[in-house]
């Protein structure tokens, strides 16, 4: 089966907030879907299939696609399928959308990620994703294991809490340029992060991502359809997925091995030899500030242990060679079912030169990352021109 060139032609995001008390779930998702359709100037009938995803246990609606695929999206009498893979839900959706169009099965696909997190609770919901006999009794949601990882990473390489705090300062001040971001803090300082309570050693409150509510929608098209829709799409160059063991603790929990494996393969597919020079912007999935330092190493931006140095040298700042998370990243916005898709939406926005205040100059290639489950990594590389 020949592979079709696939591009993102429409993007929709809601303004992410802690609680959206003005809308119920389908009403919230409709905002992002409407925005994406208007962006691509397509009619509801133009969509061939819909992929929609969230993590059911956060809202307690255990067949959510039945309600949301039809009332919030043009899914009536069309194929609607749910994808749910924890923190990687958004990126899995983005990758499945790519598969459906690149394979030639559908011409135009709508992909939606959403979460109304504060109707349940993130930590409580996450615990129910794990093994009831062996893991649930002690597991503290995602923050417990992330805290263990941060401690192990810090001990191995000597990364300091101040270096981690710098990540929060970078990302939440970047978020001030992003009209959709949840936590926008243009004047945030390292002291602000360092003076917050230690909620799970060594993680401080402001080392951790928030719980947000909102939705993100993307419209994909193949090369024939793209010509009719827009002259400014974001083309897929490579997608790569690496999943890990059943229990997150089955192998080492620092140095994110799945990101190293997936990035090597993705870079090879996309012809990237040196990520710092060959990529122009990266939207990576950092659930904690420490994670961003570690993931930049795992993704090959620098050597193991040098994530702190990379940030100190300014390479991942907005003015650096490879800006990381101009949107504010996960530390600023975290509606779990949508979070990884927002990375793709923001990478596409950068490619399309529509980032306005958060736009990085001259973006030809962007990296988008999803992370979640028991240390899974999903990567997408997007480009201004189709991959030849």
């Amino acid at each position: 089966m020949t592979k079709h060139q696939t591009a993102i032609v429409g993007i929709g995001q809601t303004k992410f907030r802690s609680k959206r008390r003005d809308v119920n779930i389908p009403e919230m998702i409709y905002e992002a879907v409407r925005m994406a359709l208007d962006d691509a100037q397509l009619e509801p009938k133009d969509i061939d299939a819909i992929l929609i995803g969230n993590m059911d246990h956060f809202e307690g609606i255990n067949f959510s696609e039945m309600w949301t695929g039809i009332d919030a999206a043009p899914g009536y009498l069309k194929p609607v399928v749910k994808v749910a893979t924890g923190g990687t839900t958004g990126s899995s959706l983005a990758i499945c959308g790519y598969h459906n169009v690149a394979s030639g099965i559908y011409d135009k696909v709508l992909v939606i990620g959403w979460e109304k997190l504060n109707e349940g609770g993130a930590t409580t919901g996450i615990i129910t994703a794990f093994d009831p006999v062996w893991e649930r009794p002690s597991l503290a949601g995602a923050l417990g294991p992330l805290a263990l990882m941060a401690g192990m990473y810090s001990a191995k390489y000597g990364i300091t809490p101040e270096q981690a705090a710098k990540v929060t300062v970078k990302n939440r001040s970047n978020a001030a340029n992003n009209p959709f971001a949840h936590l926008q803090m243009p004047d945030i300082t390292i002291d602000y992060v360092m003076s917050s309570q230690v909620i799970s050693y060594p993680l401080r409150l402001h080392d951790c991502c928030p719980q947000s509510e909102g939705a993100c929608a993307l419209i994909y098209a193949n090369e024939t359809e793209v010509k009719k829709i827009t002259d400014n799409p974001a083309w897929f160059h490579a997608v790569e997925t690496a999943h890990y063991y059943t229990f997150g603790t089955d192998d080492k929990m620092y140095d994110l091995p799945t990101a190293t494996i997936a990035s090597k393969k993705a870079y090879k597919k996309a012809g990237i030899k040196d990520p710092i020079n060959d990529l122009d912007v990266a939207e990576i999935y950092e659930p904690t500030s420490w994670s961003e330092l570690s993931w930049t190493e795992a993704l090959g931006f620098c050597k193991p242990g040098e994530g702190g140095k990379l940030l100190d040298e300014g390479i991942t700042q907005m003015s650096g060679e490879l800006p990381v998370n101009p949107s504010g990243g996960v530390l600023s916005t975290n509606p779990i079912g949508a979070t990884a898709m927002v990375r793709v939406a923001e990478a596409a926005t950068q490619i399309m030169d529509r980032g306005e205040k958060r736009q990085v100059p001259d973006v030809e290639r962007a990296l988008a990352m999803g992370f979640g489950g028991s240390l899974w990594t999903e990567l997408m590389i997007l480009g201004k021109e189709p991959m030849r």
Binding site: N24, E27, Y30, P44, I70, D71, A72, G120, P132, R136
Partner: protein
């Protein structure tokens, strides 16, 4: 035998508290029932269909609906079944009927309960009327049940 099975299973529970935002459409619908004993639907600007309970988007046209239509508190049965068994949570004491009701003025069926447990007294096409709760609690059961007229 039971001991043998007990060894092979791990008994657990999932107990999670939730707080759902109902949205403006549900809020107006429930408030009109509770305060004014009126049942409202919404009309799609494109296909003209009136839906009850009301929601924001017409799923056939994918259009936002903003026209509220007051429906009669009476309707016609389009389908029913009679419940005779008992479970811990029941809206009425069995026997009673679950029914699809086409309220006057609506184009979609509304699901609710009828306080009649004898299947011989019920039929598709029969007329029913809403009976409202004395003290409304912002729940769908502020329409306590429908009765045959």
């Amino acid at each position: 035998m039971t001991d043998d099975i007990e060894k092979k299973v791990y008994r657990g529970r999932i107990k999670v508290p939730y707080k759902h935002t109902a949205g403006a459409y549900v809020e107006k619908f429930i408030t009109e029932i509770g305060k004014n004993n009126k049942i409202y639907g919404v009309r799609c600007p494109k296909c003209g269909e009136v839906y009850v309970p009301p929601k924001m988007v017409c799923f056939k046209c994918f259009e936002k609906m903003e026209e509220w239509v007051e429906l009669g508190n009476q309707g016609t049965i389009t389908g029913f079944t009679v419940i005779t068994h008992s479970t811990p949570v029941m809206p009425l004491d069995p026997p009673f009927a679950y029914a699809r009701i086409r309220l006057d003025g609506a184009d979609s069926d509304f699901v609710h309960i009828i306080n009649e447990g004898d299947p011989n007294k019920l039929e598709v096409g029969a007329r029913v009327a809403a009976v409202f709760k004395e003290k409304p609690r912002k729940r769908i059961l502020d329409i306590e049940y429908f009765k045959l007229v």
